[in-house]
């Protein structure tokens, strides 16, 4: 429908809560038709807030965006009709069966009952839930719930599907299965996918392009390979026993070193041909009487890209996430009581 080949166009999108907390800060980016676009960032970076604005669940404080050719502010209902959403939480009605949930979604999209009957069957097949379609959702496992959410998100045959953390809290096996569906969807339906995830290796393998967002701001957009190349070489990590002195100038003297970042007693050194640069650096450090306690050389990965642009390791983000997930489980228990 778009002549320029972009299905999402975001222009200066911002959202503040209670007038001060800026969750999203003048974001601008475009998503191309039929690509898988990944949105990466630490917890609280503004990923979900952005998705909620693009899916018309939140009104932007300022800025605008066009989704499937419609403005999210002035043509919200057209946006809603054109997109599908697989939210982060399990939003199906637990007291209804899987089948009833999908039919219900179809009704909300105004799909005629005769059409939705066949389509529901087709989607249950696609996500492999036909056996348990007649059971209440409260008896479903996490993976089954996620698959049900995917089926609901596809009921209107959307041109653009939003997936917010589609594999959050799933075991490895189910995660693989979900990724398989996602790739299949892109092929079968020619859809564009916009997703957030914190599984970097998966984003690396699945996404055509990735945007990294932190503190509500866009820090980098590009194809995974581009981002990795942009790191400018390998990463050498050095642990030094004497962490009171700053050895950055000393390390910078080595010829292939491009940059140094001191994090506590550890130095992250960017260098071309890391395995050759490392011995030189160690030599230089030792000659000044310092002690190297640890060394590692890594080729660029999405992990490093992430760390480079957000200053956080994946492990930090993972820990925060575990907290959040725990809270959600508690909430769910409180309800079922």
């Amino acid at each position: 429908m778009q002549s320029d080949g972009y299905i999402i166009k975001v222009d200066g999108l911002s959202k503040s809560f209670n007038g001060k907390l800026k969750a999203v800060d003048s974001l601008s980016f475009d998503v191309r038709e039929r690509e898988i676009f990944g949105f990466l960032g630490p917890n609280g970076a503004g990923k979900t807030t952005t998705i909620k604005m693009l899916t018309t669940l939140l009104k932007p404080t300022s800025g605008s965006a066009e989704v499937c050719g419609y403005d999210i502010n002035s043509n919200a209902n057209d946006v809603r009709a054109a997109i599908g959403i697989v939210p982060q939480e399990y939003t199906a009605d637990e007291d209804l069966t899987g089948y009833q949930n999908i039919r219900f979604c179809a009704d909300l999209y105004g799909i005629p009952r005769t059409v939705s009957k066949d389509r529901t069957k087709e989607l249950l097949d696609l996500v492999g839930l036909q056996e348990s379609a007649g059971r209440k959702v409260q008896t479903y496992s996490g993976g089954m719930r996620r698959r049900l959410e995917i089926a609901c998100g596809l009921i209107n045959h959307p041109r653009l599907l939003f997936l917010d953390e589609p594999t959050l809290g799933l075991d490895v096996q189910t995660r693989t299965a979900v990724w398989d569906y996602i790739k299949k969807l892109k092929l079968d339906y020619g859809m564009t996918l916009f997703m957030t995830t914190h599984y970097l290796e998966e984003a690396d393998g699945v996404c055509d392009r990735i945007a990294i967002i932190d503190h509500g701001k866009l820090v980098k957009v590009g194809a995974p390979a581009e981002l990795k190349a942009g790191l400018g070489g390998d990463i050498i990590e050095l642990g030094i026993r004497e962490d009171s002195d700053d050895l950055t100038p000393l390390i910078m003297q080595s010829k292939s070193v491009k940059g140094v970042k001191k994090i506590g007693s550890t130095y992250r050194i960017k260098a071309e041909l890391g395995e050759e640069a490392a011995p030189d650096i160690i030599e230089a450090i030792r000659s000044k009487g310092y002690h190297v306690t640890r060394i590692s050389v890594t080729k660029p990965s999405m992990d490093q890209v992430y760390l480079e642009y957000t200053g956080r390791t994946l492990r930090d983000a993972e820990a925060e996430r575990a907290d959040m997930f725990g809270q959600r489980v508690t909430l769910r228990r409180a309800r079922s009581r």
Binding site: T56, K59, E89, D95, L108
Partner: protein, 277 residues
Amino acid sequence: MEKTDTSVIHGLWALTNRELIKWYRTPVLLFMTLIQPVIWLGLFGQAMNFSKFFGSSGLPSAEVGALLKGVFGVSDYFSYMAVGMLTFVILFTAMFSGMSIVWDRRFGFLDKVLSTPVSRGAIVMGKVFSSVVRSLIQASIVLVLAVLLGMDTGSITAAGVAGTFLALFLLTIGLSTFFLMLALRSNDWQTQQAIMNLLNLPLLFGSNALFPLTAMPPWLQDFVRINPISYTTDIGRQLLLGAPGFAPLGFDFLFLIGFSVLFSTVGIVMSWKLLTK
């Protein structure tokens, strides 16, 4: 783009039906909402036996009957309060419809609904209509129980019952939208529960559901006269018991129609504006 039926009715029906499926699949909910009015009928209504109170003081029973008729409009208190209980069950069900939207928001279900093109007004009205169906069924059960427990059936006619249920229908629409409006933006069920507890008894005692307004202090009478519960009860007493009302039937109905139309209009407008944060 495929052809879709985006008429309000399609979505409204789906949303109403979803609530009703949840309700009849969980009989314990029906049971819980009926406990309160049944306790009032069975314990309070049966024990508050004015004819016995006065009869035991040596007054002739004819005079006791006349006395009660003068105060309540009927010669036994049980029939009087049984009609009040019909409105009480409506109040209770309506309060829970506000609660249900808080749960929907809390568990992301509301976000799912809001992300579809379904009419925002239908989201609120679906809850209102399911609350109407629920409360009318519950009111019928309470009415049958009241008759079994000894409510005076001397003046009951089919038209009277129909008129009473029309009044109950209007009351549910107005009260449900009122409680839903209070909950539109809330995701805190504890606050919602507190609001319910806060409003529950004032609305009940600030009406003529249990006592006639003639004996009330003037400031309370003023409140009773603006409380839509009073007009519903007034219609029930006139049509089911043949008792004189505090307002003419026509005025009662006009008041209720105004109340339900006003609140549902405001409710729909507010849901356009307030459901999306």
